[in-house]
């Protein structure tokens, strides 16, 4: 990344810039994560749910209940509990999830790739189709095409994803048989490959399990398209308004007067400027999907981060909730950084 954007100006400056940037980044990351842990931790302790219940259930004897309470350290003062948690977290020990019995980070290494896979494909679809549609709508403003694109966006924005997901399953899976059903892979293929990255598409492809790979593709297409559609709705709307804004600028008129082709005016000049705020929009929409779309994951039985955190929260499994929150927090910070760097690449004024 560094080499690709080290353009112009003296090497020294660049070095200093990246040094400050790195220090800044670490500081931001640390503060954000600390803040997140603190807030989540204390909210977790004041919610009116008894975490001991999640472990021992409703029927345990009072002795068992007390013992587990002590094991969890819940009899200690809150601050001391927090301190113990922090000390462990710094060494990479985020505790075990009550519900799955695994270390939280092992769980996250399992569920996050599922979400990552879905979100990445979804965003890709959203970008590939959202931007051209947005441009088209802006250029053909007021025409039927514009109306259709806007309607598409409106539907994507207002229809509950839950309903659309079920309808999609009913139509494309149950009736038409074009795609495979809920889940990441058919059971027949589940044990054909060794999970390495836990991203099924990558794992199966790397191990040459092509049947399994195509099965995974056929499973992911529908939920990814659905998420893609929602991100498309957002991205096309934003692209349209950024483009309208740019197209009304004087430099566009100037370019046209100069006799540049309309295509060149739109793609080289207007879009280039609109791209700057668009990067943030895309990053945000990507980050949103990475949080895990609980409803999509539920409908499609997709074992991702969204379902994991929701389920943990409902069972007061606070280690898991904290771990999940941290991952989401870190994702946001990293994406922010990436969009910052892209800004510099796209907008010469920030260099």
């Amino acid at each position: 990344m560094t080499s690709s954007i080290a353009i112009g100006s003296g090497g020294h400056d660049v070095l200093r810039f990246y040094l400050t940037k790195t220090v800044q980044f670490i500081a931001v990351l640390a503060t954000t994560l600390f803040g997140l842990v603190a807030v989540t931790f204390f909210i977790g302790r004041i919610v009116p749910i008894d975490p001991v219940l999640a472990i021992v259930g409703d029927r345990a004897s009072p002795q068992v209940y007390e013992r587990v309470r002590e094991e969890l350290g819940l009899d200690l003062p809150l601050i001391q509990q927090f301190w113990i948690y922090l000390k462990k977290a710094v060494t990479g020990d985020f505790g075990n999830s009550v519900l799955t019995t695994n270390p939280v980070m092992t769980d996250i290494a399992n569920v996050f790739p599922a979400t990552l896979e879905l979100a990445t494909l979804g965003t890709l679809i959203g970008v590939l189709f959202g931007i051209p549609l947005g441009i088209l709508a802006a250029v053909k403003r007021g025409t039927l095409i514009d109306q259709i694109v806007r309607l598409l966006g409106l539907v994507g924005y207002s229809v509950p994803i839950f309903w659309l997901g079920l309808m999609g399953l009913l139509l494309f899976y149950a009736k038409l048989d074009w795609v495979a059903g809920p889940g990441r892979l058919d059971v027949t293929y589940s044990y054909l490959y060794e999970p390495v990255t836990n991203v099924v598409l990558i794992d199966t492809a790397m191990q040459g399990q092509w049947d399994a790979f195509w099965d995974a593709v056929s499973h992911i297409i529908l939920p990814a398209s659905l998420l893609g559609y929602f991100s498309l709705a957002y991205i096309s709307r934003m692209t349209r308004s950024f483009m309208l804004n740019e197209l009304a600028q004087e430099y566009v008129i100037a370019a046209r007067v100069k006799g540049l082709s309309e295509l060149r005016v739109i793609w080289r000049h207007a879009l280039r400027n609109a791209a700057v705020p668009l990067v943030t929009v895309i990053a945000l929409s990507y980050a949103n999907l990475l949080e895990g779309s609980v409803l999509t994951e539920t409908v499609f039985a997709w074992p991702g981060l969204g379902q994991y955190i929701t389920n943990s929260l409902q069972n007061a499994d606070m280690n898991a909730v904290l771990g999940g929150t941290l991952v989401i927090g870190a994702t946001f910070v990293v994406l922010n950084l990436v969009s910052d760097l892209l800004y510099r690449l796209l907008d010469p004024r920030t260099r």
Binding site: L166, L169, T188, I221, V299
Partner: protein, 531 residues
């Protein structure tokens, strides 16, 4: 790889609803049973700790217990690992003989040593279900003296009192009394944990199936146990975690799963019309009830308690919101238990309720809250009850909450009314009598917190009667005692029991031999066939 761009193109087209992409279609393999089920309650696979619905069922299909009962007729108790047993004349010692030639899935022989180890282990580990064995005076400190191996295939169990043999035997049919493979478990012991940390996610049993894999919130895979005497027709049973019931329905209708376990009443009605699907149901050991907190001065009045029992439209709830999911039942012992009462003396009778309220000095009714778990089912029932309460001027405010949240409040007895489900812990009537009809100490500091305590109810002489019932050795007399206990609670207790739970299993017609037992650990796939 030439197909790749086409795939992405298709992806987009699916989104815009105009494509033709043919998926690899995979029906379930003929030797594999695939079911869709909400299995996110599994937190352990150690039978000494398992107390959750789904995990209990898995234990029932993968482990054997000392004693078991016929799922069609609970009164028929038989030895599963035990060949025979006898009770000493003073009634305090049971001697068990273990069946010869049994083997664990690991290949290790199953002997009395394993049974003794398993029972001692459960008591020593002292996890949630350990109290089922603890009731007989077994504690961490004395269990090694009380359960003793007396021969290679023989051991004795010494009780602190001369309990009714049925009580002891029924308790031994529960999951916590499953027999684990001592040798295998102890090979995996760490720091004296009796293999607990290992067995949480592993398997060491002798049942029809073995547990090959458990991925939390994703899948459980069972595989045929080659050492089990009666070979299972299915080579594999795969349970997929499908949270959304509508998704379960789609998968079932499509044939990508053979069985769907969590369909709601509307979905059940819909799939019943599909010629390829049939729905089987069976009454379970759970009851739905309202708990009336006696700390609330209005609810503490006997007339009010009675009036509220006349203000529930039992039949309407069973026929609509809980259609196929519950049947009207009013006693605290579910049908199928020794001494269970099936009489339903109460029905919606607004006039009578008004009369009773007037006697209590509440002619114009009163306002009361109800903590309600915010699932569609429970909310539906709560709203139905709210409506009928209202007919007699009782204004019911529903406080919605997450399941664990309402339960936390209930356990701290800070509710007015709680609507909930109570499932039996083991197949003996004492399981429910002990919680609905007994309360040793009604103070806030009490150690034991049965349902009677949670509703701040002192059942008076019923507590002693409940204790006496576990010592009654004549089954007929014992059953009569439970009938009387139920009648007392029905007349005056702070519980409005209104439904007995019914479990439904929607399956493809070709699936045959699925047994729905009265408890979750008696649901069995051991003899399931696919035609």
């Amino acid at each position: 790889m030439k197909r790749l761009p086409k795939i992405f193109l298709s992806a987009a087209m699916v989104a815009t609803m105009a494509t033709s992409f043919t998926a690899v279609k995979a029906a379930t393999p003929p030797d594999t049973l695939v079911q869709a089920w909400q299995i996110d309650d599994i937190i352990t696979l150690d039978p000494a700790e398992v107390f959750e619905f789904t995990a209990s069922e898995i234990m029932g299909n993968t482990y054997e217990r000392l004693i078991n009962y016929d799922p069609k007729d609970v009164s028929k108790i038989y030895g599963e690992v035990a060949e025979s047993w006898s009770v000493s004349p003073d009634g305090k010692t049971l001697t068990f003989k273990v069946k010869p030639n049994k083997k664990f899935a690991s290949g290790n022989p199953l002997t009395a040593e394993d049974v003794v180890f398993s029972l001692q282990r459960a008591v020593i580990l002292d996890k949630s279900p350990a109290f089922i064995l603890g009731q007989f005076g077994l504690t961490k400190d004395n269990v090694k003296d009380k359960i003793k191996q007396t021969g290679p295939m023989e051991f004795t169990l010494e009780l602190d009192k001369a309990y009714a043999p049925t009580f002891v035997l029924y308790a031994l049919t529960s999951t916590v009394a499953s027999v684990v493979d001592k040798k295998l478990v102890m090979q995996n012991e760490k720091d004296g944990d009796l293999g607990y940390n290992w067995l949480k996610t592993h398997y060491a049993g002798s049942g029809p199936f073995t547990i090959r894999d458990w991925k939390a919130n994703e899948v459980v895979v069972l595989e045929r146990n080659p050492n089990y005497e009666k070979k299972t027709p299915m080579a594999r049973v795969i349970t997929r975690h499908i949270k959304e019931t509508a998704t379960q329905r789609i998968l079932l209708e499509k044939g990508d799963v053979d069985i769907a376990r969590n369909l709601n009443p509307e979905e059940l009605a819909a799939v019943a019309k599909n010629p390829d699907i049939e729905v089987e149901s069976g009454a379970k050991g759970g009851v739905w009830y309202l708990g009336l907190n006696q700390k609330n001065p209005n609810l503490a009045k006997p007339e009010v308690r009675k009036a509220l029992k006349y203000l529930v439209d039992y039949a309407a709830i069973a026929d609509t919101i809980m259609k196929n999911k519950g049947e009207v039942h009013q006693a605290f012992l579910p049908k199928g238990f020794l001494g269970a009462m099936s009489e339903t003396p109460y029905k919606l009778d607004v006039a009578k309720a008004k009369e009773l309220l007037a006697q209590a000095g509440l002619k114009d009714g009163f306002t009361v809250t109800m903590d309600t778990r915010s699932s569609a089912e429970v909310t539906g029932m709560a709203e139905a009850i709210q409506k009928t309460f209202g007919q007699a001027g009782v204004k019911l405010e529903i406080i919605p909450g997450d399941g664990k949240q309402t339960l936390t409040k209930y356990r701290a007895r800070q509710h007015d009314i709680y609507i909930g489900r109570w499932g039996a812990d083991y197949q003996d009537p004492n399981t429910n009598a002990d919680t609905f009809a007994a309360n040793e100490d009604n103070s806030d500091e009490a150690k034991a917190k049965p349902l009677a305590w949670r509703n701040a109810w002192d059942p008076g002489p019923l507590t002693a009667k409940t204790r006496a019932a576990v010592l009654e050795r004549d089954p007929a007399k014992r059953a009569q005692m439970y009938k009387e206990l139920q009648q007392s609670v029905l007349d005056d207790g702070p519980f409005v029991v209104f439904l007995q739970e019914v479990e439904n299993v929607a399956m493809r017609k070709k699936v045959d031999g699925f047994i729905l037992g009265p408890s979750f650990d008696t649901n069995s796939y051991a003899q399931v066939k696919k035609n």
